[in-house]
């Protein structure tokens, strides 16, 4: 038992100090009927590092890793190249095995990193302030809706049909129990967004309008007018960004007037990881900061006048305010925030802009190539690195046939909207810098074969 340093002599000596005859004496408070004798039956005993690695390695090989061949999935999780130094740095024990920085004198490393992360996120999203992270984009989205309710004292949220259906599901789950009213629906297979119609739907009960940018079908649009409509009606505009790399190329939601911007930060530094852990981004205008959920890191000075950083405004949080807190969140995604921040620092503004431009260029090339496949067309009139293909047949079976040819060819709308037959021919395709020209050609050729 390689992780347990006590020897049996130690245990004997310690029991003597305690004044207990045996370890069982220390569990005397456990009622007899709940006390187990011996290890729990039916479970294996401890194993060597080699044996465990072998077992887990065998499981890992049962999945087809994205990097093993052509890969075009997005829909809320994007595969980007992560520089080697990111993973090296986040594995430094002082970051990896630290706790939440509650003792700031010996946690300045984490705190300064969080301050830098918050600053990077705020600038990227175009807002004044950002918090120290949430679990992921979907939970951040719900927290934003709740925050808008607190600020506006209204409880009706209008969700764009372009919002990721999982994000919508999370909101629906919570709204069932909180009394919030959600106005939502499935997307339509149209080239543009539903934002103009949304602007017309705002009324005096509307707390917020939630739009995704780029949206679930990959569409991008200008939200300036929508922001103005929200402001005129006393509602807040919440923008959701699931692909932050896009903001190296297109205007940020904050620039266009969004009040709260949330997002999924996974695409920088974190990797796919089969859906988690990811890192929720949460940013807003300064005037709303005291209604924000989650941890915030702020600058201050120490007793000698040196600059330092602390967790602050914690009277919003559960450990102080308990049932009156702005959220129940405690643990967030600190290490993923670090990965995001390091990757962003390595890129810098110039690198981010170039990365974004390469993504967009590669996606445009892929869209052009795939649109040449007989019967296939591109839905979008605008996109960043992800677009929706319309196939002449249901996309889901096509996905499986492509997988047989070792091509992971996107996410079918049938998977995302199983109850909506009208969407079943849609296929959402993401194209990042990790996709090669050969991958695109192979995808197009295979798609042609499958559809033939």
């Amino acid at each position: 038992m390689r992780y347990l340093p006590l020897t049996s002599d130690d245990r004997t000596a310690m029991l003597a100090t305690i004044g207990a005859a045996s370890i069982d004496d220390l569990f005397a408070d456990v009622p007899a009927e709940a006390r187990l004798e011996g290890p729990i039956a039916g479970l294996p005993d401890h194993a060597s590092e080699l044996a465990v690695e072998r077992h887990m390695g065998a499981l890992a090989r049962r999945s087809r890793a994205a990097g093993e061949g052509p890969f075009f999935l997005g829909a809320g999780a994007y595969r980007h190249h992560v520089p080697a130094s990111v993973d090296h740095l986040i594995q430094r024990g002082e970051f990896l095995t630290a706790y939440t920085p509650y003792q700031p004198e010996i946690a300045q490393g984490t705190l300064q990193m969080l301050f830098e992360f918050q600053s990077q996120v705020a600038r990227l999203l175009g807002t004044d302030v950002a918090n120290a992270s949430m679990y992921d984009g979907s939970t951040a989205c719900w927290e934003a809706i709740v925050m808008a309710r607190r600020i506006t004292k209204r409880a009706k949220a209008l969700l764009s049909t372009g919002l990721h259906p999982h994000y919508r599901s999370v909101a629906r789950t919570m709204a069932k129990y909180t009394g919030d009213v959600l106005v939502d629906g499935d997307p339509r297979l149209e080239a543009g967004t539903d934002w103009a119609a949304l602007a017309d739907s705002i009324d005096k009960d509307t707390s917020c309008v939630v739009v995704q940018y780029p949206d679930i079908l990959g569409r991008i649009d200008d939200m300036t007018k929508l922001a103005e409509a929200c402001q005129a009606a006393g509602a807040l505009l919440i923008a959701v960004v699931t692909e932050p790399v896009a903001l190296g190329l297109i205007k940020s939601p904050g620039e266009m007037g969004a009040d709260i911007v949330v997002g999924e930060g996974q695409s920088l530094g974190v990797g796919l990881q089969f859906g988690g852990p990811y890192v929720g981004l949460f940013a807003c205008k300064t005037k709303y900061v005291r209604q924000m959920p989650g941890r915030l890191c702020g600058e201050t000075v120490d007793a000698n006048g040196k600059r330092g950083f602390v967790l602050t405004l914690s009277t919003r949080e559960q450990h102080i305010r308990r049932e009156k807190a702005t959220s129940n969140i405690c643990t967030n995604s600190g290490l993923c925030a670090l990965a995001f921040s390091i990757h962003m620092t390595l890129l810098g503004e110039a690198g981010l802009r170039q990365l974004a431009a390469i993504n967009h260029g590669r996606a445009k090339a892929a869209a052009a190539e795939l649109a040449k496949v007989p019967g296939v067309s591109v839905l979008n009139n605008s996109f960043f690195n992800e677009f929706t293909l319309l196939l002449p047949t249901a996309a889901r079976p096509v996905i499986h046939k492509l997988a047989e040819k070792d091509i992971l060819g996107g996410v079918s709308l049938g998977r995302l909207y199983p109850d909506n037959a009208g969407l079943e021919n849609g296929l959402v395709v993401a194209v990042t810098e990790t996709v090669t020209e050969a991958d695109i050609s192979a995808f197009a050729a295979a798609l042609k074969e499958v559809l033939a």
Partner: protein, 514 residues
């Protein structure tokens, strides 16, 4: 090159006002290295990433981002140095004993990190076709089986993202179960000693929260609880072992009473590490309990997450568990989502996060569990409890231990500030420990004890490490009792002295404004 750092790196930044160490030009003190913000040392044209191709032209019209974003870049060498320097300003379990009560800072095995990075786990997309991610589903399923068996519960919801998210999962299951029964119960009872997340979670889900009083022995007052139960009470949230480090001896009676009154029992499983392999919560009448994989099963805390909070459920609550989840059919695994939940799982309360949960934590936790096995996990609990009692009995003569007389503690030892010299507090003891090379224990929690100090050594500390810690804490306790003024200004040897938290809150600076 455009520099964002208009002022550049300012060596005098450290010297200014820093009378204690203004003797070096840089503000550094040998291995204690100061580090500026990336915004002060980076530039908007600098990058640490090379691309194989030039940026192609884009035609995005009015949507094109033209204004400067204000993001600094560093070369790779500067990046590595920046974050390495920052890391050295952190305390961590890799550096020493980290006795943070209720947080379970135990050793994080590196095998777990290696396994989590295998491409079949780290480089798979959550929406890949199911036939291409069978190995990932297998991990989720295998870990789920372990959690169910170790807790003696009916089933487990794997998707919650952290402990508090797990609490929310359990509370929503209770809401859904009540709804299915056609009952509108609005009250959740929570002991005063509970983690703040408990009442916050109940409120987040729309419940009203009421306190349950405690006994003199630091446990739930069963009679008071029984008196409050009624048709408006949806359930209770009990932490067991509780935040005083004590086992709730009457847990089964509590569960029976709550069930008899038509309510459900939520158990905060943050302290499951004290009983894993020795006690199954399912035998105590629990309906739902989250398990912090980052505590009991040693996935790293990472400076504040990510966590992972699977929730084990009783047969009564299992039908309401969230989507998605994994089922096994022969050698194959299937993901149950919205579209196929219909017949088998029609009462689900829905989805509480995008995708399937914290896969990266599942691989680490399963690796940890397989390494220990059933015998090792039992030893984990026993050593954790032994270490805590060793600390309790070694220090009870020096520090007030309010519940020591009531018997052994579980995995953590609780002390109060009673008996310290006038003007000396728990905070001073905590800051004194920093100078001794330790992270302080949890302070001022639980709220039910004045000036609480909650010490959780965990099972991964040797006797020698405990003896040194006990010596250090005894020494500081004596200084606090004797009124040593130097303790009031501790820490003296940390990268920073006490920080002005009032200033930070009064004039918030939450982003770089240069």
């Amino acid at each position: 090159m455009t520099a964002l750092n208009r002022a550049g790196w300012r060596p005098e930044m450290n010297a200014a006002g820093g009378a204690d160490d203004s003797t070096t030009f840089t503000g550094n003190r040998a291995l204690m290295l100061e580090e500026a913000l990336i915004f002060e040392i980076g530039g908007s044209e600098t990058t640490g990433v090379d691309f194989d191709e030039a940026a192609p032209a884009a035609d995005l019209g009015a949507l094109a981002r033209t204004a400067p974003i204000g993001l600094p870049g560093l070369s790779e060498s500067e990046t590595v140095r920046h974050y390495t320097r920052l890391s050295r300003q952190n305390y961590a379990i890799d550096l020493g004993l980290f006795p943070l009560g209720s947080c379970t800072m135990k050793h994080n095995p590196r095998l777990n990190e290696k396994v989590a990075r295998m491409p079949g786990f780290a480089d798979v997309h959550p929406l890949q076709p199911q036939e291409t991610v069978q190995g990932a589903y297998a991990v989720i399923h295998e870990l789920a089986e372990w959690l169910i068996t170790l807790t003696g519960m009916h089933s487990v919801a794997m998707s919650p993202k952290a402990g508090a998210h797990g609490e929310l999962c359990g509370i929503l299951c209770i809401k859904a179960a009540l709804e299915a029964r056609g009952e509108d119960r609005r009250v959740i009872l929570v002991p005063e000693s509970a983690h703040g997340t408990n009442p916050a979670t109940a409120a987040f889900a729309g419940f009203t929260v009421e306190d349950i009083p405690a006994t003199e022995a630091g446990r739930v007052n069963l009679e008071a609880l029984k008196a409050r139960l009624g048709p408006d009470v949806a359930g209770v949230m009990i932490t067991n072992p509780n935040t005083c480090g004590l086992f709730e001896r009457e847990m089964k009676a509590i569960s029976d009473a709550v069930h008899a009154a038509g309510g459900y029992v939520y158990c905060d499983g943050a302290n499951f590490n004290a009983i894993v392999g020795r006690v199954r919560p399912g035998d105590l009448g629990v309906d739902a309990m989250h398990i912090n994989l980052h505590k009991t099963f040693s996935t790293p805390h990472g400076g504040g997450g990510p966590g992972s909070g699977p929730v084990v459920l009783s047969a009564a609550l299992a039908p309401f568990a969230p989507l998605p989840f994994v089922t096994k059919h022969g050698d194959d695994f299937r993901l149950i989502e919205e579209e196929n939940a219909g017949e088998d799982h029609p009462q689900t309360f829905g989805r509480m996060t995008a995708f399937h949960g914290q896969m990266g934590m599942f691989t680490r936790a399963l690796t940890y569990i397989l390494s220990h096995g059933a015998d090792g996990l039992k030893q984990v609990a026993e050593d954790a409890v032994l270490n805590a009692n060793y600390v309790l009995r070694s220090l009870e003569g020096v520090l007030d231990a309010p519940f020591a007389a009531s018997g052994p503690c579980m995995h953590e030892a609780l002390f109060s500030d009673k008996g310290l010299a006038e003007g000396f507090s728990t905070l001073d003891i905590a800051k004194g420990l920093i100078d001794e090379g330790y992270h302080p224990m949890t302070v001022y929690f639980p709220l039910v004890v004045h000036g609480a100090m909650l010490v959780e050594p965990t099972e991964t500390e040797s006797k020698a490490a405990l003896d040194q810690f006990i010596g250090a804490l005894r020494s500081i306790a004596m200084r606090a009792k004797n009124g040593d003024p130097a303790l009031k200004t501790a820490p003296h040897f940390a990268p920073r002295a006490r920080l002005d938290e009032t200033l930070a809150a009064r004039k918030p600076v939450l982003a770089w404004e240069g």
